[in-house]
């Protein structure tokens, strides 16, 4: 079946991407100054200690052998252990994943549920007051830094007014403000994107035909424009997933949410390479699968699209 073949081909194409990204990190690590073993043990360690630690970490072997050993582990689901805290990378990642996923999905839901209707209304009432207002707000929201928005919202809504909890995760209430923060920039681009796509469709001939045959404006928008105008919006939702995962780093840091991004930030600060590698590889695979799902979904909603070569 063509679809099955296409899906397996796309999944196979993910493999070189993952090998490439892990090889790249391994490579820059090998040219970077400083001996990780010495860094972990601190200034008091003797030469023998450092040497023993290097053997323990497998750093005494050539870089290519290290890489192959690492990837052999990855294939078995073993992403190694943190150099500093000794925890199992995969286990810790899976423990933290629900927090990040909840946050990301909620942010995506907000940007879709709020952004798409706003964009549709702005397009239908083009050049009206509402149109200009949404464009102005979209412009502002896409320009302010995510972490600044979060910080300000946290101070004014949580600490000064006490409306919502300021930090932590776990419950729905805790997630409201972080999810709004994370969705702000995405929401802005969602509105602009929906508006442009709707306007594009409204210029089509079949819309003019519908108007000519006396369709009500409401019916034109709902039956004719929405169906085709929302197609690119769906694909952009898939793309926004990667952006949201990237943006969740600062959001998790501002609201102290124990998610995967916080794990990554802490690892980056101390150069805990197994953790950085593990998180990055899993996210690359994840984003690849989500993009594939979106492409498949695209063929379902738009039969004109053919998934080809």
């Amino acid at each position: 079946m063509a679809m099955g073949k296409y899906i397996s081909k796309r999944i196979l194409l993910l493999i070189p991407v993952i090998i490439g990204i892990s090889l790249f990190i391994f490579f820059i690590l090998s040219i970077a100054p400083g001996d990780p073993a010495a860094l972990i043990l601190g200034a008091d360690a003797t030469e023998a200690d450092i040497q023993a630690k290097r053997v323990e970490m497998g750093l005494d072997k050539p870089i290519l052998v290290q890489y192959i050993n690492y990837m052999a582990g990855v294939l078995k689901g073993d992403f190694g252990k943190s150099w500093y805290n000794g925890y199992d990378v995969m286990e810790e990642f899976l423990n933290r994943l629900p927090n990040t996923l909840q946050l990301g999905l909620m942010a995506m839901a907000i940007s879709a549920v709020v952004g798409i209707p706003l964009g549709v209304i702005a397009a239908v009432k083009q050049y009206g007051v509402f149109d200009y207002m949404t464009l102005v707000f979209a412009m502002i929201f896409s320009s302010i830094p995510t972490f600044w928005f979060g910080l300000m919202a946290q101070i004014y809504l949580c600490i000064k007014l006490g409306l919502l909890p300021a930090t932590g995760g776990g419950s729905f209430i805790h997630l409201i403000l972080p999810a709004i923060t994370l969705s702000a920039a995405q929401l802005a681009s969602q509105v602009r994107m929906t508006r442009t796509s709707m306007l594009e469709v409204m210029k089509q001939d079949y819309v003019r035909t519908a108007r000519a045959k006396g369709c009500s404006e409401r019916r034109i928008v709902v039956r004719h424009v929405l169906r085709n105008g929302l197609l690119p919006v769906v694909t952009s939702l898939g793309g926004s997933f990667a952006t949201i995962i990237g943006g969740s780093t600062v959001t998790e840091s501002v609201f102290a949410i124990p998610g995967t991004s916080n794990m990554l930030i802490n690892a980056v600060k101390v150069r805990d390479i197994p953790v950085v590698m593990g998180v990055l590889i899993v996210i690359a695979a994840f984003v690849g699968v989500v993009n594939l799902l979106v492409d498949i979904l695209y063929t379902v909603i738009d039969p004109r699209v053919k998934l080809g070569t």
Partner: protein
């Protein structure tokens, strides 16, 4: 025929003069351009009119002063002048953004240009390489590179450039692919024009539009990225001022002294917004058809 210089007559102007003519009529874009120029000039020349000692001199007696005549933006927890820090910080934020976009653009033009012009196997290999970098969200890739290279301003610049260039490479390639088969390029080939002349005289001037627009928009995104890395404590290392780092340093005190958060944040937001205005204006000016 006699040429009349009527206002609005763009018939005999060069391509770039026409772009500038249309751009000038866009009030929002002009506002953005002027604002960003003012910000750039103020911050880049800050070393000429603000003594650097004001950036780092700690004065515990004067700490947490609200904005006043002596300290225009107030002072932080160490009594350092926030105005001086924001101005010097702007120098780093804006120039770092420019450097990142310049490096990424150079890499993108070389890689995307080679892929688009040579096609075939070169194209496949180069684009697969770009796909690898595009598979991971930009900020996360930059973070991973910083973790491997270690912290520091130059390393952050390298990390952000590497994570930015694949996007440019794609745009350059797409732009070249559409131009390569245009009739006027074929015509030039028929006339026996050399490859280098076709590249420099025909393809580059016509393909530059989308690249310039995306570079302007990417500049805003890069400034946001630099600030985010600074805020997370893996970008510019304090006490060197940079807008994101300034916010990060004052993070715990913003709730008591809101100006510490509002002022640096406004500078980031305004510069990014103005760059977006310029980018949108350029897009409309370069391709009047896209304007609805």
């Amino acid at each position: 025929m006699k040429k009349k210089n009527v206002k609005g007559n763009i018939g005999n102007k060069s391509q770039w003069a026409m772009v500038w003519f249309r751009f000038r009529k866009n009030k929002l874009a002009m506002f953005g351009l002027i604002m960003i120029c003012i910000l750039l000039v103020l911050s880049v020349t800050s070393s000429l009119w603000i003594d650097y000692s004001r950036v780092y001199t700690q004065n515990m007696v004067d700490r947490f002063q609200s904005p006043n005549a002596e300290h225009w933006f107030g002072t932080d927890q160490y009594g350092r002048d926030l105005f001086a820090r924001v101005m010097y910080g702007g120098k780093i934020s804006l120039s770092a953004g420019l450097v990142v976009v310049a490096i990424a653009l150079a890499l993108g033009v070389v890689v995307g240009g080679a892929a688009g012009f040579f096609g075939g196997r070169v194209d496949t290999i180069l684009m697969r390489l770009c796909d690898i970098f595009l598979a991971v969200p930009r900020l996360l890739l930059a973070m991973a590179i910083v973790s491997a290279l270690g912290q520091g301003t130059e390393k952050m610049l390298i990390a952000l450039s590497i994570s930015t260039f694949p996007g440019f490479a794609r745009i350059v390639r797409a732009s070249i692919l559409t131009l390569r088969n245009q009739e006027y390029v074929e015509a030039a080939k028929c006339c026996g024009t050399s490859s280098s002349r076709i590249i420099f005289k025909h393809i580059i001037p016509n393909g530059m539009g989308p690249v310039i627009v995306s570079a302007t928009l990417a500049l805003g995104g890069t400034i946001l990225g630099i600030a985010a890395l600074g805020f997370l404590g893996i970008g510019v290392v304090p006490p060197t001022p940079e807008w994101g780092t300034i916010l990060s340093e004052n993070r715990t005190n913003i709730r008591y002294y809101p100006y510490l958060g509002l002022i640096p944040g406004m500078f980031i937001a305004i510069s990014v917004m103005c760059l977006n205005f310029v980018g949108d204006g350029l897009r409309d000016a370069l391709d009047p058809r896209t304007k609805n």
